[in-house]
Symmetry: C2
Subunit: 436 residues, 2 copies
């Protein structure tokens, strides 16, 4: 709450907003910020850092040349999909507040565009110009390297329920996922009218992005749920070693890669098959919070773990032989005549070979929510994010995984699906095509 | 649970442990690991990375020269106290399981020593040598740079309650904190028989350390609570800019610094004043989970935020003038005759000048637990860690903060205190002096 204090520095101060403060301080702030700096201007002069005028780069492990890299905001597709996965994730979903009009929502998406373009370029949402107003930017990222920040926005099925005149714009493929095997969903981690996926090599920068977009939306949107992620599924080619998930296994060996343009067109980017032209060049994002029963897994024998996954733990090689990137030979038999890659192994059941050639682009992160206070066990696992041309791809894969041996060690506890619009050109805004 | 699978690679496999698997797979594993490599040996050959034989460095933002740095495990004090604060924290507390004997606990502390020395040197807990046993190391850090990992172990007051014959070893200064101003403690985030503070520039490496120590302790200790942290309080001198907390303000400007040896001796390291010689050269760790009411703060006017803290937000300069590292002039009056640094400002009430010259070494991190599902607000704030010669220092400071203007925006929701034994020489183990 805003309280009025003695102004000990001679500035005029007054609580002009009344009790509770201004509901939406952001628009004024954003415009002030834009007015001070204009599009693309850099405050301070330290490219690649979030700076106020006179700001200074902060210490930190991300404080390297890599940390100062930016990812272009504008392009055919939104950044954060085929962008090589950054190290950290902040994923937030929000619901539109009751009473919000179509125009309010559209305005918010425009403001989000301006703010996202600024932040991904390493600028604050805006500079502070008025001591008697809430700060335009929450400030925690000042001095932090931008660390390849990307912001990716998606629209949930409920956004098209008629509140905003968008019922006729709903893609027929966009719907809440049906009940699927091995899920035990927590209503506190499902759905959302909107999602914001912020990825960066610096968790503070990713958190700052979601926080500031929510703040700009105060009174129009409210947080639904959020998760931070660390570690990640590999989305790049084999130049560097594949990261590992909390099972201790490499994750992403057979994932689609950014350079596989033909496969991305076939499996990830929405094309002319959609009934909603505004979504062409976009994608669908499926998010699943997957809890691992970590202590059970940690008591399992190495060989059993490898049979569950279908790969060797250390090398990542398929149990049919070879090295990590050897194509699994699902037909190969072991010495005992049984399949070398077990029939109920995760790698077999999730494979394109087992699913009519389906691929998705996975972009998951490890997460932990601390300790279950009743059980004294770790709450953690994989925050799965997949991008695909249609949610039906995920539905098919997860249905195939009904007999996955890994199901003994995991449960899906959160779930959401979003339509991710295509990228923007300078001057365009989120929602332009959707609302047109 | 351990399930026996067809052995498709011709290895002998048997579930020798019976239902539920072995309760404590760790000791055999640890010894096997030590046997294979010996103390100080490097597996693989990639110094500074967690490697299995044949392991490969993983991709990532920490994958830099800095990422490969190790912090010495042995020394006069435990690492992780005056070590320049790494970017990420995993802080776990554990309780000793009912029925554990004094010998069991002592054995565990010895095993933890071996494992901590290995991990902080960039080695796995051990190498895998038996496919028909649980893996010795959980594996998720394989290929990750060690990223200055430190592990710091502490003993809570309850450890000295007589279960382990340690009642006579309890330092008189070690006791649960009394009720303090502005706290609303969640029992799920208080206390603990033991704590493990793992810090690293890579969150996966910090998490791996706590997970593996807990795993080694299966059957002897169980998780109590855990928190991950990002961002941090500054603990180094002004060579780099001071990081910011989620209030958007610089944090740690006046903190004790590692090079202030005299002040550390006076305020941080336990000396001859203790009634327990085993603790000399150690310290006390006070942990406080401090929830920020972020949305309220974000609606507050910039000038009010600055008056609450007592510093300018962007520059960090005290409101009495100067620049960030200018000593605050608490006597200075503003134009209106009121103190330039308000009487209820945080910086004034927490200052040594206001507290009889008391200093502590703060080593806090930002945290978030996602969204409050009822309120739709961010759950996040500062995970405060302070090191001090006696918990009475924290009690005095927090009592002084009873009238802190910042209390409108924060609550302390978690609390714990631990005695942190001094450092070890090679060959020594945690608990040697405590149990001697």
């Amino acid at each position: 709450m805003v309280t009025t204090k003695p102004d000990d520095r001679g500035r005029e101060t007054a609580d002009q907003a009344g009790p509770g403060g201004p509901a939406r301080p952001s628009r004024r702030g954003l415009l002030a910020g834009a007015g001070l700096f204009g599009a693309g201007a850099v405050a301070g002069g330290l490219t690649g850092y979030f700076t106020h005028s006179g700001g200074q780069a902060a210490a930190g492990g991300g404080d390297t040349e890599l940390g100062q890299q930016t990812v272009p905001f504008y392009g055919a597709h939104q950044a954060g999909i085929i962008t090589p996965a950054q190290d950290r994730l902040a994923f937030g979903t929000m619901n539109v507040v009751d009473g919000t009009s179509r125009a309010d929502l559209r305005d918010l998406l425009q403001e989000w565009t301006t703010a996202a373009a600024r932040m991904t370029a390493g600028h604050l949402v805006g500079e502070e110009s008025d001591p008697a107003a809430p700060p335009v930017d929450t400030g925690e990222a000042v001095g932090s390297p931008v660390s390849r920040l990307t912001i990716t926005v998606g629209y949930g099925p409920a956004l098209f329920d008629g509140r905003f005149g968008l019922a006729g714009r709903k893609p027929s493929a966009l719907a809440d996922l049906p009940p699927l095997p091995n899920e035990n969903l927590d209503p506190d981690y499902t759905g959302g009218d909107l999602c914001v996926q912020a990825c960066s090599d610096n968790p503070l920068v990713a958190f700052h992005a979601v926080r500031n977009l929510a703040r700009i939306g105060m009174g129009v949107v409210a947080h639904n749920w959020m998760e931070l992620g660390f570690g990640r599924t590999s989305t790049t080619s084999a130049a560097q070693a594949t990261p590992r998930n909390l099972l201790g296994f490499k994750d992403g060996t057979r994932n689609l890669k950014a350079e596989q343009v033909d496969l991305l067109d076939k499996h990830v980017w929405v094309g002319t098959e959609t009934d909603q032209p505004w979504l062409r060049g976009g994608s669908y994002l499926v998010a699943r919070k997957i809890k691992m029963f970590i202590e059970n897994w940690d008591r399992d024998y190495l060989q059993d773990q490898e049979n569950v996954i279908g790969r060797a733990k250390v090398s990542g090689a398929p149990l049919s032989g070879g090295s990590e990137f050897t194509t699994p030979d699902f037909a190969k038999a072991g010495a005992d005549g049984q399949p070398a890659i077990p029939a109920d192994s995760h790698v077999r059941l999730a494979s394109p070979e087992h699913n009519g050639g389906i691929h998705i682009l996975r972009r998951g992160y490890s997460f932990t929510d601390g300790i279950d206070p009743q059980a004294g066990t770790l709450l953690g696992g994989l925050f799965f994010i997949g991008f695909m041309k249609s949610p039906s791809q995920f539905i098919k894969l997860q249905t195939s995984l009904a007999t996955d041996a890994l199901n003994e060690y995991i449960h899906h506890t959160g779930s959401a699906v979003f339509a991710v619009q295509p990228g923007l050109r300078p001057g365009q805004h989120y929602g332009d095509a959707l609302f047109a």
